[in-house]
C-alpha cells in the first residue's frame, strides 16, 4: 500500500528504524498473571506431592511384598516334656530339606529379647520365661518352594507351626492399592480443579481484553490467530507456575527425608524407613514430578485455547 501511495504523492519518505522489540498483542499485565501463576504453582505442588506419595507407597509396597514373600517363619511353642533346642534343630533340618529353601536359622535368645523390648521393656532376663522361638526360613524363588510339604513335615515336631505371612501380604497389598487409587483420584480432582480455574481465569481475561479482541476481529484476524496469542500467554504462565510448584514438591520430599533422618529418634526413623523407604523418591519419582510441570502447562494452554475459541465463536459475528 505504501508503495502505491508514494507513487502518487510528492512526499518523499525517509525510512526510519522501527522499534527494536515488537510488543506482544496481548499485553502481559492484562492476563491475570500473578494470581494464576500462584494458583498453578499450588496445583502443581499438590499434584507433585500426591504423585510422589503414590510413588513412595507403591515402591514400599513392592519392597514389602518382595521381602515378606522371600521369608516364612516357623514358630516353636514350648511344650511340656519336649526339649526346645532339639525341636528347633529338627525343624531347621526339615526346612533345609524342603526344595527351594536356601537357608533356615533360629533367632537367638538375644535377638528375641530385642524383638520383645518395645513391648516388655529392656533389661529383662528371658531365660526365666518360656517363650516361643522363631526360625527364619529364607526362600530362593517363592513360587518353587513346596510349602504344603514343609507344613506337613512340621506336624512331626510338637508345638511347631508354619507362618507364611500370606494374610499380611494380602493386607499390605490391599492397603497399598487403596492408597495408590486414592492418590490417582486426588490427582484427577486436582487436574479438574486446575482446568476449572483456568477456564474462569481465561474468561475473565477475555472480558477485560474485549477491546483487543474486537480490534483484531475488525482487522481480519482469524479466531485461531487470536486464540494463539492468548494461548501463548497462558502457556508461559502455566510453565512458570508449574516450575515453581514442581520444584516446591521435590524440595518438600528432600526436606521430609532430611527431617525423618535427623529429627526423629533412630528407632522411629528406622521404622519409618522400613515403611516408606526413607522417603526417597528416587530418580523415577523426581522425573515423575518433573513430568507434571509440562503436563500442567500444556493443560493450562489447551484449556485456555478452547475457552478462547468458544468465547470468540460467540462474539466474532462471523
Amino acid at each position: 500500500m505504501a508503495e502505491a501511495v508514494l507513487e502518487r504523492t510528492v512526499v518523499v519518505a525517509t525510512a526510519k528504524p522501527a522499534p527494536k522489540r515488537t510488543a506482544p498483542i496481548v499485553p502481559e499485565r492484562s492476563v491475570a498473571g500473578r494470581t494464576l501463576v500462584l494458583l498453578i504453582a499450588i496445583m502443581t505442588f499438590l499434584s507433585g506431592v500426591t504423585l510422589g506419595g503414590v510413588v513412595l507407597v507403591q515402591k514400599s509396597a513392592i519392597a514389602w511384598s518382595s521381602d515378606v514373600g522371600r521369608e516364612v517363619t516357623i514358630q516353636i511353642r514350648p511344650v511340656e516334656g519336649e526339649v526346645m533346642d532339639s525341636n528347633i534343630r529338627t525343624a531347621i533340618a526339615l526346612a533345609e530339606a524342603t526344595p527351594g529353601v536356601t537357608d533356615a536359622h533360629a533367632i537367638s535368645l538375644e535377638d528375641s529379647e530385642k524383638l520383645l523390648e518395645p513391648w516388655l521393656g529392656s533389661g529383662l532376663d528371658l531365660s526365666q520365661l518360656e517363650i516361643p522361638r522363631l526360625i527364619v526360613v529364607e526362600l530362593g524363588d517363592p513360587k518353587e518352594v513346596d510349602l504344603p510339604k514343609l507344613e506337613a513335615d512340621l506336624k512331626s515336631v510338637k508345638g511347631a507351626t508354619l507362618e507364611t505371612h500370606a494374610a499380611w501380604r494380602q493386607q499390605l497389598n490391599t492397603m497399598a492399592g487403596t492408597l495408590v487409587f486414592s492418590g490417582v483420584l486426588v490427582l484427577v480432582l486436582i487436574v479438574l480443579a486446575t482446568v476449572l480455574a483456568v477456564v474462569f481465569a481465561t474468561r475473565g481475561t477475555m472480558a477485560s481484553n474485549r477491546e483487543i479482541v474486537d480490534v483484531l476481529h475488525f482487522i481480519g484476524a482469524s479466531n485461531s490467530f487470536i486464540a494463539g496469542e492468548f494461548q501463548g500467554r497462558f502457556l508461559a504462565l502455566g510453565l512458570r507456575g508449574g516450575v515453581i510448584g514442581g520444584l516446591g514438591a521435590v524440595a518438600f520430599f528432600f526436606l521430609i527425608a532430611g527431617a525423618a533422618g535427623s529429627l526423629m529418634p533412630e528407632q522411629q526413623s528406622a521404622q519409618l524407613g522400613f515403611l516408606f523407604g526413607r522417603f526417597s523418591l528416587g530418580i523415577d519419582g523426581i522425573l515423575g514430578i518433573a513430568a507434571v510441570i509440562p503436563v500442567i502447562a500444556a493443560l493450562t494452554a489447551i484449556t485456555s485455547r478452547l475457552t478462547v475459541r468458544r468465547f470468540l465463536s460467540q462474539t466474532s459475528g462471523l
Binding site: M1, P19, A23, I25, L216, H217, F218, G220
Partner: protein, 219 residues
C-alpha cells in the same frame, strides 16, 4: 462491488433497524453516509464490515452473496475491508508503528517484510516523527491518522469510516476527509458515515441518507 437488494436487518426478535435497502456502490467510488442519530448508520456499516448478516434480502459483495459464505470465506472477504472508528480504537499498549502494522502482523508477516511499508505510510499521513509514541501521547488528529493508516495498510478494496471526524475540530475534519479523498483517488472505495453537513458541502461526493431505516441516494 457492493449490491443491496431488499435488505432488512433486525437484532433478535426486535423491530427492523434497516428496511428494504436496495442500492449499488461501484468500485472506486466515494460515498458519504448521513442520517440522524439512531437512523441505522452504524448497523449499515456493520453489515458492510460483515459483522452482521442481513435478516432478509441479499447483500452481494465482491460478486458473492455474503449470507451464503462460510466462516473462512467471510474472514477472507473481511481482509479486503478496512474500518476507521470515531473513537480510533488503537491498542493502548502498542506504539503507533505497531498499531498500524497490526493487520500485516495478524497475517503472519515478519516485521522485516512490512517495516518499510509501514514507515512510508506513517510518513505519508504525517506521523513519521510519532512512530514510537503510544496512543496516550498522541493528539486526537494524530490518533485518527494512525487509525486510518492501520485501516489502509493491508490495501483494502473498501474503506469504511464511522464518524471519523467526530472527535476532531472542523479544520482537522477537512484535512482528514482530504486524506480519504486521496485514498479514493488511488482506487479504494470509500464509505464515510458522518453527521457533519459541512463536509458534504465541502466535498462534492454522492451521499446516502438513512432515515427511519430506509436509504436515499443523492448525487
Amino acid at each position: 462491488m457492493i449490491e443491496f437488494s431488499n435488505v432488512g436487518l433486525r437484532y433478535g426478535h426486535g423491530p427492523e433497524i434497516l428496511r428494504d435497502l436496495t442500492f449499488r456502490i461501484e468500485p472506486g467510488s466515494f460515498h458519504f453516509l448521513t442520517g440522524p442519530s439512531g437512523s441505522g448508520k452504524t448497523s449499515l456499516l456493520r453489515l458492510l464490515l460483515l459483522s452482521l448478516r442481513p435478516s432478509r434480502g441479499t447483500l452481494t459483495m465482491f460478486g458473492r452473496n455474503v449470507s451464503a459464505l462460510d466462516h473462512d470465506s467471510l474472514l477472507d472477504m473481511r481482509r479486503h475491508i478496512g474500518i476507521v472508528f470515531q473513537e480510533f480504537r488503537l491498542l493502548e499498549h502498542l506504539t503507533t508503528f505497531e498499531n498500524v502494522a497490526l493487520p500485516l502482523r495478524v497475517l503472519g508477516q515478519p516485521e522485516s517484510a512490512y517495516r518499510s511499508n509501514v514507515t512510508e505510510l506513517l510518513e505519508w499521513v504525517g506521523l513519521g516523527e510519532r512512530m514510537d509514541a503510544l496512543p496516550a501521547l498522541l493528539s486526537g488528529g494524530e490518533k485518527q491518522r494512525a487509525a486510518i493508516a492501520r485501516a489502509v495498510i493491508g490495501r483494502p478494496d473498501i474503506l469504511l469510516a464511522d464518524e471519523p471526524t467526530g472527535n476532531v475540530d472542523s479544520e482537522l475534519s477537512l484535512r482528514l476527509v482530504r486524506l480519504f479523498a486521496e485514498l479514493n483517488k488511488l482506487g479504494t472505495t470509500i464509505i464515510l458515515a458522518t453527521h457533519e453537513l459541512s463536509l458534504l458541502d465541502a466535498f462534492k461526493f454522492p451521499h446516502m441518507t438513512l432515515n427511519d431505516g430506509r436509504v436515499t441516494m443523492n448525487g
